[in-house]
Symmetry: C2
Subunit: 148 residues, 2 copies
Amino acid sequence: MLSKSCVYALRAIVYIGHNCSDTKKIGIKEIGEELELPFHFLSKILQRLVKHHIIQSTKGPHGGFYISEEAKQVNILRIIDIIDGLSFFEKCGLGLKECSETHPCPLHNDFKVFRDGLYHLFLKKTIADLVIKIEDGNAFISNLPQNK
Amino acid sequence: MLSKSCVYALRAIVYIGHNCSDTKKIGIKEIGEELELPFHFLSKILQRLVKHHIIQSTKGPHGGFYISEEAKQVNILRIIDIIDGLSFFEKCGLGLKECSETHPCPLHNDFKVFRDGLYHLFLKKTIADLVIKIEDGNAFISNLPQNK
DNA sequence: TAATAAAAAGACCTAAATATCTTTTATTAT
DNA sequence: ATAATAAAAGATATTTAGGTCTTTTTATTA
Ligand code: FES
Ligand code: FES
């Protein structure tokens, strides 16, 4: 449903949100190692997020990525839109060219419930919501060591 | 979420279920034209379904594909399993290597609701259920002509 | 039994997503 | 100023999904 680029983006943002501070920026190397994501591929993704002002970066020694408190309030759907676009949430689950109430596929009514539910979930969840779960120890953004 | 192969398979099966009879088998050509699916690609998919005994076929003049009433009782999840596998329903929505209750990602609890809901939807829906919707005129399996 | 029709099978092609490698640019510290 | 560091940018490679083309096999019917 979400592309790899997109989940890499989300996890990287959460990692940055959790680990950066006024004095500490986070390098791609560290993110890639911690989250086990491919360095250069991740770098492209982070560039896009910077361009869209979701995160910020500085070059040079002690440079890296960071995120402001305001930016942490953006919802996840926004990230999905930037990376994948929102077509998933409009598309027919059975691949008809149009998903519509007047010409529905035989899964339309049932499928719509979940598709729209996910949409609203992603709409109301912010980056900060995810970061808090990490900080409270209620969730994790890295793999379990044994699964490495 | 579902691959094109998979939704092509589902729509083709429903089309066959709706149109075939004891005396009439359905050719790939007809299915491809009606559903606007690529002929040869569709042919590969139907071959797999025949191998898995979801549909049946005969070669030669007046040959084609057909489906038995019993086979119409198989659920959609079975088709998804044959074409895509079921990994989607076990995978972490944020791409962690394992989706688990003890090491959850920050979306786990919310995401699981939809992922499991879809699972159960596909588990309880049979091909016959979809065909009935077509026959009752409550749903469609072809695109609207203007979207062709 | 020959011609024909249709699926099966196999080889091949294309496009998109994912991943890597190299060079450039900006920043900081010496 | 210079060297070192880190992101940005650009080029290239690999993998996978999606799609096409050709040949073979099987069944029908004239
Ligand atoms: S028409 Fe298929 S999901 Fe809406
Ligand atoms: S751990 Fe991410 S969905 Fe279960």
